[in-house]
Amino acid sequence: MVQITINGKQMEVPEGTTVLRAAEMAGIHIPRLCDHKELTPYGGCRLCIVEVQGVRVPMASCTLPVNNGMVVNTETEALKKSRKFVLSMLFSERNHFCPFCQVSGGDCELQNAAYQEEMTHWPIQPGWNNFPVDTSHPYFVFDNNRCILCRRCVRACAEMAGNFTLSVAERGAKSMIVADTDIPLGESSCIKCGSCVQVCPTGAIIDRTSAYQMRDRDLTEVKSICNGCSVGCSIKIMVRDNRIVRIEGDWEGSVNHGVLCEFGRYNAANESRKRITTPMMKKNGKLEPVSWEEALKAVSAKLTPLASDEDGIAAIASTRLSAETLTAFKDLFAGNQLVTSLEEGMPSASVMKFAEKQGTFEGKLEVLRTADTVMCIGANVGNTHMVAGFIFKRNMPKGTRVINIDPQEDALDDVASLKLKNKSGSDLALILGLQAIIVKEGLERRPMSIPDVDARIDEAVRATAISLDNLSQAARVLANSITPVILFGKGITGQRDENLVEELYKLAVLVGAVDSERAGLISVKGETNSLSAALLGLDQIFELNGQKAVYAAIGDSFVSKSIVERLSKAPYLVVQASYESKLTEQADVVFPVTVWSEQEGTFINLDGHIQKTTKVINAPETVRDNLAVISELAVQMNISLNSNWKEAILARKSSVALN
């Protein structure tokens, strides 16, 4: 601990703390523009200057580490004058005329700083130079005229998304934020995560969908969990008049710390499917609107006699539904044999099976933060579960190596230190081969007897069609790492082979990814509530064999062609859905239900965080909650939904610790 005095206030702070953070701890606000608590200090705007006793000139507090006995003043007359000068220089640089700016009136940190310093004007007029405005991006507009070159966006791009698209070109007054090699943003390597929009302190980067609609103070901020995938990022939903205006990453979020991917940030804005608002029933071969009473009565009349017949009803649910809903769904069809999820256990069945034998073996996403090598196998984190990818991509300049193994194309290939494109279906041979190479070269961290080492290596080279050199290189990089992590996904689990997971686990033990202290083996799973569905055992393959009716609770999910095709064989089909689709077209009865933002519930993310989502907006009046529909149907069918979701979920051994 280090002693420091700020504005006469004595305090102790940990060594390495910056003066700015120390002041914050003491409740003293120092104005700043380039500083952001989630980004590396940069010292660019000079607004956070403070006086340090014994130092001749004012110092930027955001980059100044505390020293023992340091005496700091943040509010002297000289500092106020200097700050005003710094601000007038910033205003004079480009076009900072407030009346026609989207963020003016409360949302602009530059303007707010000027008000705080009680600036009534700027003494030096701008140079009237035009800077480029880039409108090529689908989600935001980049106006260099409003830019103060604080480089928050550049740092967010690198340190949050790990994408390194934005940088600064030219020098001095000509400095300009550019994408890649100064190409339009819309054509650049940008992955559209929108982190730069969220951190921009001025109106330089503005969100297309919400721009010029209202100020932040007119919005209600509701915290919730993203419904995009099993990563389960914390989000802040900005709402007005029962409408989602914008979605932002929640800085307090324990999983994502403020970062989101394109889907998470813009899915509400991108939703273009047609909403179903009334119950419908097929009459004379055509779906006709009916009342809830009529629809529920017809369905219960049809399903009640089949409820206790093992092969009477087949039921399939979306893994985007809450744990409460999935538990009720399972209870409702307890008498039937084929009760599963839209994912059919692809992301989890083999993992859960292995967990029954091995116990909890998966690690937390946290381990990715300190990983020096990440091997992704069939994980596809360049395209899905992207935030999991961000966690290690951002460390690549610090030396983190990424090995991407996937027969399919993946956006991660572009940045991976090593990519292996094995032949599809050769994953087991590849994993066994890597184990064998490590043992043969004596690189294993833990002794393990591997039979037929040479034969395995030969087989790996043959089956994967990857050269021995490349395989060996991957094996060496992995084995020589200090904190390796192995990330796997549907490419592996989709094969429903428990053996694959087991061999991957062995490889993880061999290279020290998994030992008594670390658990560096993680499966990315599937949709938002993939893990809950797996723990509830909703993981069978959906294959109809003579069932007389099918109940599909798909909520707001997209349904794959293959499922639609298999469901077309259903003699009687009830669909509980929010949007019109090929599936609802072929249904006999359609129940209109809430979408993710209109309901609350519990979701378990890929590394076992039990999280609650919030009801953000009200559904149309004729639409009912997913859980409510199942409960009402249960009442009509005289089936009691007794199970407590928590008990039901905890009944099965989980592959990852729940918390």
Binding site: N95, F97, C98, P99, F100, C101, S104, G105, Q111, A114, Y115, E118, T120, H121, W122, P123, Q125, W128, N129, N130
Partner: protein, 180 residues
């Protein structure tokens, strides 16, 4: 009658700041009580008294030789000069044409705009004032008080005028200070 005299004028602005002045409603009677309202765009007198006024208020920026004259005259005849509104303080919306230059702006407005009759041309009557780069008042004459806002609130204007009329020095901050 020894009440302080207030005069105002407008230049390259939209009259919105004077509208906002009128927005103070019945409080204008309070101002009249405290001060002698002389030449303003909304009273009959057209020029500030030659003998001088205590407070001169200017709305709008300076964008031609006529504006320049108005600004000079107001400065010469006022003890205290107030720049009222974003155009007077910063140049405001009219200053946006500085980004393309006077010629291009005139060409666009009088010739190229879709709504113009074919064959329209830029007015060139020698009696017209000469167009210049748009400037804030403080770029042309010294200003004592800058009151930003597009427009400044009636509350802000009332506060400024009332304080000045009573010989005090107004301090713009918190709710009264905004640039938009």
């Amino acid at each position: 009658m020894n009440k302080p005299k207030i005069a105002s004028d407008w230049m390259c602005g939209c009259a919105g700041c004077h509208m906002s002045l009128l927005d103070m409603d019945e409080r204008i009677l309070k101002i009249v009580e405290l001060a002698n309202l002389r030449a303003t765009p909304i009273t009959d007198l057209k020029e500030p008294d030659e003998s001088g006024v205590d407070v001169g208020v200017l709305e709008g920026g300076i964008n031609n030789s006529a504006n320049e004259e108005v600004a000079q005259k107001m400065r010469q005849r006022s003890k205290v000069l107030v720049a009222l509104g974003d155009c007077a303080v910063f140049g405001g919306v009219p200053a946006m044409r500085n980004l393309c230059g006077v010629q291009e702006a005139l060409q666009r407005a009088y010739v190229d705009a879709e709504s113009n009759e074919p064959g329209s041309q830029i007015p060139n009557d020698p009696e017209l004032a000469t167009m210049q780069q748009t400037r804030a008042v403080h770029e042309v004459v010294p200003v004592d008080y800058n009151v930003p806002g597009c427009p400044p609130d009636a509350d802000t204007i009332f506060y400024i005028l009332a304080e000045l009329a009573q010989g005090r020095k107004p301090e713009l901050k918190n709710e009264l200070l905004h640039w938009h």
